[in-house]
């Protein structure tokens, strides 16, 4: 049992799980942003990072009322705010606080440095902004700061193991991305008000796409693992869920559901994590290159193919920026920000919901038929209570959907609130970007490629590579094409 489990055992799940803390942080941050409805500028100090030629203009407070802070001051205040919030959460989750604070500080400042570097005008300026920076060319690679953060994390994680171990207390990719997703709910709610029909289409088709992906991916990966790579069901089921559905979280949930030994999802995690980092470095750029004409297909595809919440939503954010910039350059059409990311997030959220449902089904099947042994009797069976569905439900989705619904219906019922909600969601979105950046860095940090290379995991890696390259990428693309082809984001 880990130190964390020992500390958190006595606390309610409301105060000890990363899911619930993502909800609390996300709601609190949006609540501060919502002060704009009543003209209270409670997040005006939050740092806004922009494209720059002059380093002094790389960051600034988002509200003129806090301009006196200057760029550096806004970044420091943002650091203190996020540090205090995450430290409170980490304390309740049982982390060693001094190490968390030290590790988080390093994570934050390296992420900020990566973000600023990625916003250098020659790298990030979109074609329509070049004139403003007096430059004649730029790579137009928006959100490159996220990639720099990932690479920085990978370098530390693979070449400086002692530093990686020190920082690992604060490297919590799932918590950071889930907090970001909860905040994202407010922004999607705002987008949905302005394009209700399109938002409905994205959500309904996202649900259908996820159901399809689940039903087709899982049995195929299971059969590959069992028949061709000769794994027992105890390994094959968590592997099928981890590889085909949603990475580490799905492998853990399935492992628990079929009562697999805890070491199995732990071993699978080392393979899954490495593949996520590789996917994150390649697939958003592939999506932007091959699917810029079908932006929503690209967003959904990343949601169905990249196998972790952090990896998928992070890839969606990169693809959103890359595709908008590319389409603007090639056709002059300016898509609204966030719709491609919305397609990715929708897929991921429904996938996370279905992890609970699918784990429940597997728990029933395994408890009735004892699939983990050929004689069907070696493991004692337990019965399944309804509480299992609730236990397995990813709670951060409550925050995401709740915030989306509150913002959407508030704007629908009281149109006079829309301006305030929009301003508040925009301010909260700045902190969402901070959490996304922290997630990228954390993913890099926990990804140990050399360890995988030397770890005797050839068969597990084989299943993952065969399933991903031979099947999941293409079926995911087909499903996304079927549901999203011809749908484009609104233009500005």
């Amino acid at each position: 049992m880990t130190d964390t489990q020992l500390h958190t055992r006595s606390r309610s799940a409301f105060l000890s799980s990363e899911d619930w803390w993502a909800v609390w942080l996300g709601l609190f941050i949006f609540a501060l942003g919502a002060g704009r409805i009543w003209d209270a500028n409670l997040l005006g100090w939050a740092a806004k990072f922009g494209v720059w030629m002059d380093p002094a203009k790389a960051a600034a407070a988002n509200s003129p009322a806090f301009a006196w802070l200057g760029g550096a001051g806004a970044v420091v205040v943002t650091y203190l705010f996020v540090l205090i919030l995450t430290t409170i959460g980490a304390w309740f989750m049982g982390a060693r606080i001094k190490r968390f604070i030290a590790g988080f500080s390093v994570l934050y400042w390296l992420t900020v440095a990566a973000n600023i570097l990625g916003n250098y005008a020659y790298l990030a300026a979109t074609p329509d902004k070049r004139a403003a920076f007096h430059i004649t060319w730029s790579l137009s690679l928006g959100e490159l700061g996220f990639v720099f953060a990932l690479v920085a994390g990978l370098i530390i994680g693979n070449f400086f193991p002692s530093a990686a171990r020190f920082l690992s207390v604060a490297a919590k990719p799932e918590w950071y991305i889930k907090t970001g997703i909860v905040i994202l709910g407010a922004n999607i709610g705002i987008q949905a008000i302005s394009a209700m029909s399109l938002a409905g289409t994205v959500i309904v088709r996202g649900l259908c796409a996820v159901v399809e992906a689940y039903l087709i991916y899982w049995p195929v990966v299971y059969i590959i693992a069992r028949k061709f790579f000769h794994f027992t069901p105890e390994w094959a089921a968590p592997m099928a869920s981890g590889i085909s559905i949603c990475g580490v979280a799905a492998a853990i949930a399935t492992g628990s559901a079929i009562r697999a030994r805890q070491i199995i999802p732990a071993i699978l995690a080392s393979v899954i994590i490495v593949f996520v980092a590789v996917e994150l470095l390649i697939l958003p750029f592939a999506a932007a290159f091959f699917l810029s004409g079908e932006p929503m297909v690209a967003g959904s595809w990343l949601g169905l193919v990249v196998k972790s919440d952090g990896g998928a939503v992070a890839s969606g954010a990169i693809a959103d920026s890359l595709i908008r910039s590319q389409v603007l350059e090639q056709t002059g059409v300016a898509y609204q920000e966030g719709w491609i990311l919305m397609a990715t997030t929708t897929a991921k959220v429904f996938i996370d919901i279905f992890i609970g449902v699918w784990s429940f089904i597997l728990a029933v099947v395994w408890s009735v038929w004892h699939l983990s042994s050929c004689d069907g009797v070696s493991r004692p069976a337990g019965s399944v209570s309804k509480r299992e569905i609730w236990n397995r439900f990813p709670k951060f989705i409550i925050g995401f959907v709740g915030l989306l619904a509150v913002v959407f219906f508030s704007g629908l019922v009281r149109p006079d609130l829309i301006a305030g909600l929009k301003a508040g969601a925009g301010q909260a979105n700045l902190l969402r970007a901070v959490f996304f950046g922290l997630c990228f860095f954390s993913i890099g940090l926990v990804t140990n490629v050399r360890k995988l290379w030397n770890a005797g995991l050839g068969r597990v890696t084989g299943v993952y590579a065969v399933a991903l390259l031979g099947f999941i990428i293409w079926v995911g693309l087909g499903i996304s094409w079927l549901f999203y082809q011809g749908i484009v984001p609104p233009t500005i």
């Binding site: 399809e212 039903l215 049995p219 628990s256 070491i263 071993i267 299992e388 995991l457």
Partner: protein, 73 residues
């Protein structure tokens, strides 16, 4: 009395990430576990085939339904 299949306090994904970085599983452990699994291998049982066939079949049927809904109608 019904017993739950798992504890209420489910492990969190970030705990697994932490373990990865802090080297809780050695190469020897990996090889032992995977080797033991290879020794315990048994062919697909009928119920597994049924589970996979029904799941996949449902996926294909729904695919046709969705194609009709979104592309034809």
């Amino acid at each position: 009395m019904a017993t739950e299949l798992t504890s209420r306090q489910l492990p969190q994904a970030d705990e697994y990430y932490y373990k990865q970085t802090n080297n809780h599983i050695s190469r020897k452990d990996n090889e032992t576990e995977i080797g033991a699994d290879a020794d315990a291998y048994f062919p697909l049982q009928p119920i597994e085939k049924k589970l996979c066939a029904y799941t996949f079949g449902l996926g294909i049927v729904l695919l046709f339904v969705f194609v009709i809904l979104f592309k034809v109608l």
